[in-house]
C-alpha cells in the first residue's frame, strides 16, 4: 500500500491549536494526525481522560468533529450505540471512532471493549497509552510499565508487568489490531486509513509520551517516543486478518538487526529513577527475548 508522506497529509485541521493539553503532549500529536486520517464524516466517543480536557470545557470545543462524552467504563458500548443509531437511520457512511486512554481501555473499559469486539460491531477503537491515569494525577494503570514511579506507586515503582492489550484484542480474532506511536505519525496515519476499510472492531494502540507523567522535558516527546521504538521497548506492528507484520521503524530495526540499549530510554525519564541496574538488565533481557521471536516484516 502507498505510504503517506508529510507532504501528502491532508491540510485540513480538525483539532484547533491552543487546546488544553500540556505542552509536548503525545496525545495531542496522535489526535491531530488521527483526526486527519479519519476525515470530516466521523463521530468520536470519548470517556473521561486527558482527551476530554484537550477537547475543551463547555461551551468551547477545540475539535471540529462531533463528540460524545461518555462514562468511563462504557466507551465501546457507546460506540456501538452510535453505530446502531446511524444504521437505524440509514446514515452508515459516518465513521464511528472510540478514542480512550489506557485506563479507559485496559482497565475499567475492557469489559465493554471485549463485548463489542466479540459482537463484531463495526467501529474503530483507538487507545492512546500514556501508561497511567494522567487525568487524575498520574496513578498506575494496567499498562503502566514495571518499575515506573506513579502517584500511587510512590517509592517502589509499579511491581507488575504492563498489560498487553493489543494481544488481548488479537485473541478476539478481530480483523485488525495495530500498535503505533505518537513519534511516528505517518505510520499511525496509514494504519488508521487501513483500519477504516475493514469490518468489525478495529483496534489501534498508540504509545503517547507524556512529559509530566513520565518525567522529561516537554521538548523531548518525539525523542522519547522514538527511543521507545529504537530500543525495541515499544514495537510498531499490525495484525491484519491474523497476519503479523512489523511496520515502519520497527521493521527497519529488525532488518538492521541492531537496537539501541533499553537503558537509553529508561534513563531519559525520571519515572524510572529508582530502577536498579539489575532491573534494567531484566527489562533488556525481556526486550531481547521478545525480539528473538520476530521475523519478516514489511521491509523498508
Amino acid at each position: 500500500m502507498t505510504r503517506t508522506t508529510i507532504l501528502s497529509l491532508p491540510t485540513e485541521e480538525y483539532v484547533h491549536p491552543g487546546n488544553r493539553a500540556c505542552t509536548g503532549c503525545g496525545l495531542g500529536i496522535a489526535y491531530r494526525i488521527g483526526t486527519k486520517a479519519l476525515g470530516p464524516d466521523t463521530i468520536v466517543i470519548v470517556p473521561p481522560s486527558c482527551l476530554t480536557v484537550l477537547q475543551g470545557l463547555f461551551p468551547v470545543a477545540s475539535t471540529k468533529l462531533p463528540s460524545l462524552n461518555t462514562t468511563f467504563a462504557c466507551t465501546a458500548a457507546a460506540a456501538t450505540g452510535v453505530l446502531e443509531a446511524l444504521k437505524a437511520q440509514g446514515r452508515e457512511h459516518t465513521k464511528v471512532v472510540a478514542w480512550a486512554g489506557d485506563g479507559g481501555t485496559a482497565d475499567i473499559g475492557i469489559q465493554s471493549l471485549s463485548g463489542a469486539a466479540e459482537r463484531g460491531d463495526d467501529f474503530l477503537f483507538m487507545c492512546y497509552d500514556n501508561e497511567g491515569y494522567m487525568n487524575t494525577g498520574v496513578q498506575r494503570s494496567g499498562t503502566t510499565p514495571q518499575g515506573a514511579i506513579t502517584a500511587n506507586t510512590p517509592f517502589k515503582g509499579k511491581l507488575q508487568q504492563k498489560k498487553d492489550v493489543a494481544a488481548i484484542m488479537i485473541a478476539h480474532g478481530i480483523d485488525y489490531v495495530a500498535t503505533a506511536s505518537a513519534a511516528y505519525p505517518l505510520d499511525l496515519y496509514d494504519k488508521i486509513r487501513k483500519a477504516i476499510t475493514l469490518k468489525g472492531v478495529k483496534y489501534i494502540h498508540i504509545h503517547t509520551p507524556c512529559p509530566p507523567g513520565w518525567g522529561y522535558e516537554a521538548r523531548y516527546t518525539v525523542k522519547i517516543g522514538e527511543l521507545a521504538v529504537e530500543t525495541g521497548y515499544w514495537d510498531l506492528y499490525e495484525v491484519e486478518l491474523g497476519e503479523f507484520r512489523l511496520t515502519g521503524a520497527s521493521a527497519k530495526a529488525l532488518k538492521k538487526g541492531t537496537r539501541k540499549p533499553v537503558n537509553e530510554y529508561l534513563q531519559a525519564q525520571s519515572r524510572f529513577r529508582i530502577m536498579s541496574p539489575e532491573q534494567a538488565a531484566d527489562v533488556q533481557a525481556r526486550v531481547d527475548a521478545k525480539w528473538s521471536t520476530y521475523s519478516g516484516g514489511e521491509g523498508c
Binding site: 460524545l68 462524552n69 462504557c74 458500548a77 443509531a85
Partner: protein, 398 residues
C-alpha cells in the same frame, strides 16, 4: 384486539408499537422474557429495530444513551441488580436529557440474593432525574410503555415504567393491544433536539464548570448548576405533561384517566391506604372486606412517583382522618420513601395543618414475601383501631 399474555409481553408489544429503533439489553430475572420477546420480534422481521445483546447492563444503557444522542428512539429493560449496575448511566441519561424508555420488572436487590418481587430496585433510583411510572396491571403496562415514549420526547427526560416482577411480569392476563394504525396519531416519529452529526458538530456532555461562561460568540452559556436546575424545573413541569399525554391517549385509544394517582372508593373515605403497583389492586379486595365491616376506607395508587404529583396526592387525601402507606421498599435507616414523600406533600398542601390526617407506614412483601389479603386486612384493622402492628413489617416472623 385483545390478547391473553404476560406483563413482559405487554411491555414488549408496547415497545414495538412505539417503534423503538435501538434495543439493548442484558438478561436478568424477571425482566428477561421482555427483551427475549423483542429479540424474537426483531429477528422475525416483525419489528424494524436494531437489537444489541450487550455484555452488561452498564453497557445496555450506554448503547441507549449513545443511540439516543445520535437521534434514535432507544429502549432497554432490567431488574434489581441490573438496574443497580446501571446506576451511573441512569444518572447520565437524565443529565444528558435523553428521552430513553426503560422498563423495570421490579425485584428485590442483593445481598442476600433474592429474585422475587419488591420495589427496592426502582425506588433506589428515585433521585436520578428520571420520570417513574408504576403500572398496576397488564393493560397499564402496555399503555404506559407507549405513553412513556411520548412523555420522554416531550420533556427530554428519560422514563422508567415499573411493574411488579412475577406478579405482573410472568402472569397471564387479558388486555387490549392498541391499534398500530392509530399510533402515529399519538406518537409522531422521534424529532431529537440535537443528534450527533458531522455536518453540525457538537461536543456533548463535556466538562462543565461551576460558573457560567461566555461562548465563542460572546454569549453567556450555562454552568453545571443551570443545566441541573433546568432538569429539576422540567421534571416538575412533567407532571402536567404526563396528564396531557394521558388525555391525548384517551382521545386516540379510549383508555386512561388515572395518570397521577388512581383512587378506589376514596370519595367518602375516612381512611385511605396508599401504595404503588399491583399491591394497590390487591388492596381493593381488602377495602371491600373492611367496608363490609363498617369502615369507610379506600385505596389510592400512586401511578406517577417521580416527579411527585404532590398536589394530586394531597388533594386525594384531604379530608381523610388517617392514611396508611403500604410499601415494598424503604429508605433504610428511616421509613418507606413514599411515606416520607406523602407526608411532605400533605405538609406543603394542606392549608390547616391541624386537619392533616395521621400517616402510618407499613412494609409488606419484601423479597417476595407472600402478601396474604387476610394479613393486609388484619394489619389495617389494628391500624383502624388505633395501633398499627409493631414491627410495622406485615407477616414478619422474627
Amino acid at each position: 384486539m385483545h390478547v391473553i399474555e404476560t406483563g413482559n409481553v405487554a411491555a414488549a408489544l408496547g415497545v414495538r408499537l412505539a417503534g423503538a429503533q435501538v434495543v439493548a439489553a442484558y438478561p436478568i430475572t424477571p425482566q428477561t422474557p421482555l427483551t427475549e420477546k423483542l429479540s424474537e420480534l426483531i429477528e422475525a422481521g416483525e419489528m424494524d429495530a436494531r437489537y444489541v445483546p450487550v455484555e452488561s447492563e452498564h453497557s445496555a444503557l450506554a448503547v441507549c444513551i449513545a443511540a439516543s444522542s445520535a437521534g434514535a428512539r432507544a429502549f432497554t429493560a432490567t431488574s434489581a441488580n441490573g438496574l443497580l449496575y446501571m446506576h451511573e448511566q441512569v444518572h447520565w441519561a437524565a443529565g444528558a436529557r435523553l428521552p430513553i424508555v426503560m422498563c423495570v420488572a421490579n425485584r428485590a436487590v442483593g445481598a442476600p440474593w433474592n429474585i422475587w418481587n419488591d420495589h427496592q430496585d426502582s425506588i433506589s433510583q428515585r433521585d436520578t432525574g428520571w420520570i417513574q411510572i408504576y403500572s398496576c396491571d397488564h393493560q397499564q403496562i402496555i399503555d404506559d410503555t407507549l405513553k412513556a415514549f411520548r412523555v420522554a420526547e416531550a420533556t427530554s427526560i428519560p422514563v422508567m415504567v415499573c411493574y411488579d416482577g412475577y406478579l405482573l411480569s410472568h402472569t397471564y392476563m387479558p388486555f387490549a393491544v392498541p391499534e398500530q394504525e392509530k399510533v402515529a396519531e399519538f406518537l409522531p416519529p422521534f424529532q431529537p433536539a440535537y443528534a450527533l452529526d458531522p455536518s453540525s458538530p457538537a461536543n456533548l456532555n463535556t466538562v462543565t464548570l461551576p460558573e457560567v461562561r461566555l461562548d465563542v460568540h460572546g454569549e453567556l452559556a450555562h454552568g453545571y448548576m443551570e443545566i441541573r436546575y433546568l432538569l429539576q424545573e422540567d421534571l416538575r413541569n412533567a407532571v402536567q405533561v404526563v396528564e396531557e399525554t394521558d388525555a391525548a391517549y384517551q382521545e386516540v385509544f379510549g383508555r386512561g384517566g388515572v395518570p397521577l394517582v388512581e383512587p378506589y372508593r376514596c370519595d367518602d373515605a375516612e381512611y385511605i391506604v396508599v401504595g404503588l403497583g399491583s399491591l394497590t389492586y390487591q388492596l381493593r379486595d381488602v377495602v371491600e372486606t373492611l367496608r363490609a365491616e363498617g369502615h369507610r376506607i379506600g385505596v389510592l395508587g400512586v401511578r406517577l412517583y417521580r416527579p411527585v404529583p404532590d398536589a394530586a396526592i394531597a388533594a386525594a387525601l384531604q379530608g381523610a382522618h388517617g392514611v396508611f402507606v403500604m410499601e415494598k421498599a424503604l429508605s433504610y435507616g428511616y421509613e418507606g420513601a413514599l411515606c416520607s414523600d406523602l407526608k411532605s406533600a400533605l405538609y406543603d398542601h394542606l392549608p390547616d395543618k391541624s386537619e392533616a390526617p395521621f400517616v402510618k407506614g407499613l412494609i409488606a412483601g419484601i423479597g417476595g414475601r407472600e402478601i396474604r389479603t387476610a394479613d393486609l386486612a388484619d394489619a389495617l384493622r389494628s391500624g383502624l383501631a388505633g395501633s398499627i402492628p409493631d414491627p410495622n413489617w406485615i407477616a414478619i416472623q422474627l
